[in-house]
Symmetry: C2
């Protein structure tokens, strides 16, 4: 009695917007067009979404992030959605997690203390760069896949991000602040809030003697420009998660490119820009973490003689 039955609680349209990330307008227009969701109404005629419909909406959201289109997923049954989520992932490799299954299990089971210990141990054993490339990146991919499947939820994803952040920030901070070149400014666009990509990039570059400054996530374009120009940076690095719309990434990158002086390079990495190099003239698309190192070598080859 103290804990209300979750199956009976219902959510306002504002609550659903924040829990699913679907705009109020979108929720209303789906109802009009597809007949789903079909919320009840309170005494004042306002929508009340039952918990199971909210859950279904969250599954739909995940499928949309993977490129499905609404007409094919809004209105499908729970079972069909579940099947689609499986189909989204299976073809891309039978056992994608591999040796990191242990860590993924720790995330799943909320074993935060053990997770932190295991991460630190791996860091000690591998060194920062290999730790990022061989442990953190695959684990992040595995968590992302499990998230897509609905096997991990918000708290697990947060737990994972927090623990990795703790370890990486400590490790990066342990390096003496370098005055070396290139000077790299790292951040994301205003709609992107995933920070791990930035930290992984920083962790790869700092041991090489580059001088990195991360502004964290969600920096407006104009502010990226002024920070880069005012701070005397050689390179601006942007990170994009898989949820970031590719179209928006390209548009934003081209605009930023036109804002920046030619002397400052623009690098972009992450799932949203992979394989988009040809549509991004004047921008260095960094395919993966190893490619980051290659890009750094190239920069030094270009600028070493003159700089």
């Amino acid at each position: 009695m103290n804990a209300p039955n979750l199956s009976e609680t219902a959510f306002s349209i504002a609550a659903v917007e924040r829990d699913t990330g679907l705009a109020k307008d979108t929720l209303r227009v789906w109802e009009r067009r597809y007949g789903f969701p079909s919320p009840t109404r309170d005494a004042n005629g306002e929508r009340l979404y039952p918990a199971d419909q909210v859950e279904k909406l969250r599954m739909i959201r995940r499928l949309l992030d993977h490129g499905r289109r609404p007409a094919r997923v809004v209105g499908a049954s729970i079972e069909e959605l579940s099947a689609m989520l499986d189909a989204c992932l299976c073809p891309e490799g039978g056992a994608p997690a591999g040796r990191d299954d242990g860590l993924l299990q720790l995330v799943r089971l909320h074993r935060s203390v053990e997770l932190a210990a295991a991460l630190r141990q791996a860091l000690m054993k591998q060194g920062l760069q290999r730790f990022v490339a061989e442990t953190v990146a695959p684990l992040a991919a595995a968590v992302g896949e499990a998230w897509m499947r609905g096997e991990v939820d918000v708290p697990e994803e947060h737990l994972f991000t927090e623990q990795v952040q703790n370890v990486l920030r400590s490790a990066i901070g342990a390096h003496a602040a370098s005055a070396g070149r290139p000077r790299v400014l790292l951040t994301t666009f205003p709609e992107e809030e995933h920070v791990l990509g930035l930290l992984m990039a920083e962790a790869m570059l700092v041991p090489e003697g580059a001088s990195c400054l991360s502004l964290g996530t969600r920096t407006p374009l104009a502010d990226i420009r002024s920070a880069a120009v005012g701070g005397g940076f050689d390179i601006v690095g942007l990170s994009f998660s898989i949820a970031y719309p590719a179209r928006q990434a390209i548009e934003g990158l081209l605009e930023l490119r036109s804002l920046l002086p030619e002397g400052i390079e623009l690098w972009a990495g992450g799932a949203a820009v992979r394989d988009k190099q040809k549509r991004l003239p004047g921008i260095r698309v960094v395919g993966d973490l190893e490619d980051t190192m290659a890009a750094l070598q190239e920069w030094r080859a270009r600028n070493g003689a003159e700089g």
Copy 2:
């Protein structure tokens, strides 16, 4: 020519919502009622907000966060708004920044390397808890004030947050993971993305032997509940920045209180809930960082004998 004149750029209603935190509905209803903002229209009849109006909206937003009411601020001139902002801040202490002026200057001037060094030095000198209470918290307040006055902008605020985060996460990570009581789960509500409050709380509690787990920001209510229950936590701690609407904080806290079993305490801290204790029965409002320690002592007095 290469850099478009900022005074000529204009923003869509969605961009203004993102930059000011004012909902689209609110922007439209203000225009209808107060005649401000008064955006132009594009070829398609959609609102286009000039940059100076967006700037004014940001000032208005700051005043609303400080308790002013819309009728008195929407429609005032820039000069009047500026005067109100000064009046908001001056009475609360002539020289609020004091000894941290030096650090604030480093933030203002983007001296990231010096800032990081100064923070680490202060940490070494003061120890973690005093560092948080005497250096980080006043500096955060000073940055917040400067933000309110418009003297610092997005990049400075990000720079500050990142550097403090680096130092605090390193320091917290340096403590051996404790198995002690109480076990505290720290996070924020979905609309709140400021993380420093959580880190400061964690930095105060961990040296006392409490066992803290931070889930980071933006955790849905239902997930807070399941993480708290499943993880065997004694206390759930929520952090609210000054920008968080007090009404929404109270509503959310009461709802979460009803979701949590009685055995788990609920603590709330931050500007948005200060002095709201009487409206929050069953919830411990933590006034400031010292009060966090007091609350911890109280918990141990209550639970030490039996637990």
